[in-house]
Amino acid sequence: MNKTIWIMLIIIGLLAPFVVYPVFMMKLLCFALFACAFNLLLGYTGLLSFGHAAFFGSASYITGHLVKNSGLTPELGILGGTLFAALLGYLVGSLAIRRQGIYFAMVTLALAQIVYFVALKAPFTGGEDGLQGIPRGKLFGLIDLGHVYTVGGNPLGLNLYYFVFALFCLGFWIIFRTINSPFGQVLKAIRENEPRAVSLGYKVERFKLTAFVISAALAGMAGAMKSLVFQLASLTDVSWHTSGEVVLMTLLGGVGTVLGPLVGAFTVVTLQSELSSVGSWITVIIGGIFVICVLLFRHGFVGELARLLKRSL
């Protein structure tokens, strides 16, 4: 894709906290990374996981626990959360890839439910209350992530923002490199025609599992970032609602497009904050968007635009 688009996006990302409320931007980045990680699986490998909240949420708990109760620095906390999500992804992935298509979705959903039960009952998760008051801590023991600058009279938590933005860029870059590598080409081959990929001698199971672990790890990293931003890890993060939301973000933005999940996450997160006054009607609206999207708009925003421009985005 065009280099200027990337540079523009990075500049927008760097300047955003001066224009938009930084916490909103950080929430957006967390969910965008989550959706991108999910898209690696659905969009590029053709696997619909309905349990991705398990990785997002469990990493959020682990990071919260490491930072709050074990006193680790934020980067180690995030590393711990991400590694845990990768390990969990390996376990869930090895079981789920034993079934195809629709069963794969049901297996991931059911396995994620086990994680939900554990999060509800485990001693360190705080049950219904979740893990509250997670400190942001000092990055590498030096830079205070909780520090607030005053710019033009507005308090801005820029340290945390740029840390989150850097992590997002790292995650996005990993996904982008994965998609555009020979490995990514094999994933796309599996998505298009699995029996054919098998007949060409590819160990399809191994490719699927690797993609699953990468996706789970990055979904975990997104959850870990989220626990520092909101200083909270809660049951919502591991619930099937969150799994459904990330499916919607990806679908709305455009399954199998590089920029789609960003647009989808932006749309859904904006919608949620704009419509926070309608309370639980938001579930109805999200459901409605799901239905409309599936019936009329299967390529998503970016997918439709790409068809219009006749190039891949």
């Binding site: 079981l95 629709i102 979705a105 439910q113 679908l251 938001i282 459901g287 799901f290 599936v294």
Partner: protein, 301 residues
């Protein structure tokens, strides 16, 4: 707690009572999956809707019609709720699902997921999440029966009996009658059945309608036992998905038997180690995936 034969038997009965709900719901999923090739995520929401039709028919329908003394009784609800929800199912199939058959089957799952969110969201807005009691249980089903090893509530015994009747009735119609043979042929090769002059699209519509009517029927049966709440279906559907993965959706009898067995296993887990009873079905699913990935009754496609 001492593990006596009595406690075991009573948990088996209570487990069977949960099992019949798993059986009816997974049966409905299997019937729908057989012909439409989609997994109906809205199944839980429609089960919940069935319970609400019964509840609202009893409490609110009379005042709404200007007849404050009118209450839809339990027996009528048992017929009307499946009809209402079945009709809604027909509308859903005709207006939405029909457009998706030519695409990937996953879109059907996503669409019905969206529908489940809408239905559940609407009810969450109007009703208490912690649930409302359904107080129209008929007189004749009050009290308990002595089974020799325990006093068992009459109503639960009725639920087990009628559910088994409906499950095996459905099995009989599909596996042993002419109508059922059309259905099975439609599952195998819809194009060929069409060529023989059978109205396959109509058959698909009615199958979906029947599948969701079964869910609503289960919802009415559940209403007097559990409190009627907007989230009752969401909790149920994920467990039923695990049941379906264990049993495989290829076989009607398989889905009934798996549902019943898992209900009993869940009951027995309460005797041995109660905290594990909410996860035991999911753990069994893990074991089945490791040992027999296609499911107990599954056919690997």
């Amino acid at each position: 707690m001492d593990i006596t034969l009595q406690t075991v038997m009573s948990q088996v009965m209570l487990g069977l009572n949960n099992g019949v709900f798993y059986a009816i719901l997974s049966l409905g999923l299997a019937v729908i999956f057989g012909l439409l090739n989609i997994v109906n995520f809205a199944h839980g929401a429609l089960y919940m809707l069935g319970a609400y039709v019964a509840l609202l028919g009893f409490t609110s329908l009379g005042p709404l019609l200007g007849m404050p003394d009118f209450h839809l009784n339990y027996w009528a609800a048992l017929i009307i709720a499946p009809l209402v929800v079945g009709a809604l199912g027909v509308v859903i199939e005709r207006t939405m699902l029909r457009r998706l058959y030519k695409f990937d089957h996953l879109y059907g799952l996503l669409l019905t997921f969206g529908l489940a969110l809408i239905i559940q969201g609407v009810f969450t807005n109007f009703f208490n999440v912690s649930g409302d009691p359904y107080e129209a249980k008929p007189e004749i089903l009050n009290g308990a029966v002595n089974l020799g090893f325990m006093m068992f509530p009459k109503y639960r015994l009725w639920v087990i009996a009628i559910s088994l009747l409906v499950c095996f009735g459905t099995w009989y119609v599909i596996e042993r009658t002419k109508l059922g043979s059309y259905l099975r042929a439609g599952t195998e090769n819809p194009e060929l059945v069409k060529a023989f002059g059978v109205n396959v699209p109509l058959m698909i519509t009615l199958t979906y309608g029947y599948g969701v009517a079964l869910a609503a029927f289960a919802g009415v049966l559940a209403a007097p036992i559990y409190s009627v709440s907007p989230v009752m279906g969401a909790e149920m559907i994920i467990t039923v998905f695990a049941v379906v993965v264990i049993g495989g959706m290829g076989s009607i009898m398989g889905s009934i038997v798996t549902g019943l067995l898992l209900g009993i296993v869940e009951g027995l887990t309460k005797v041995v180690y109660a905290p594990a009873s909410s996860t035991v079905i999911f753990l069994i699913m893990v074991v089945v995936l490791l040992v027999k990935p296609a499911g107990l009754f599954g056919r690997e496609s």
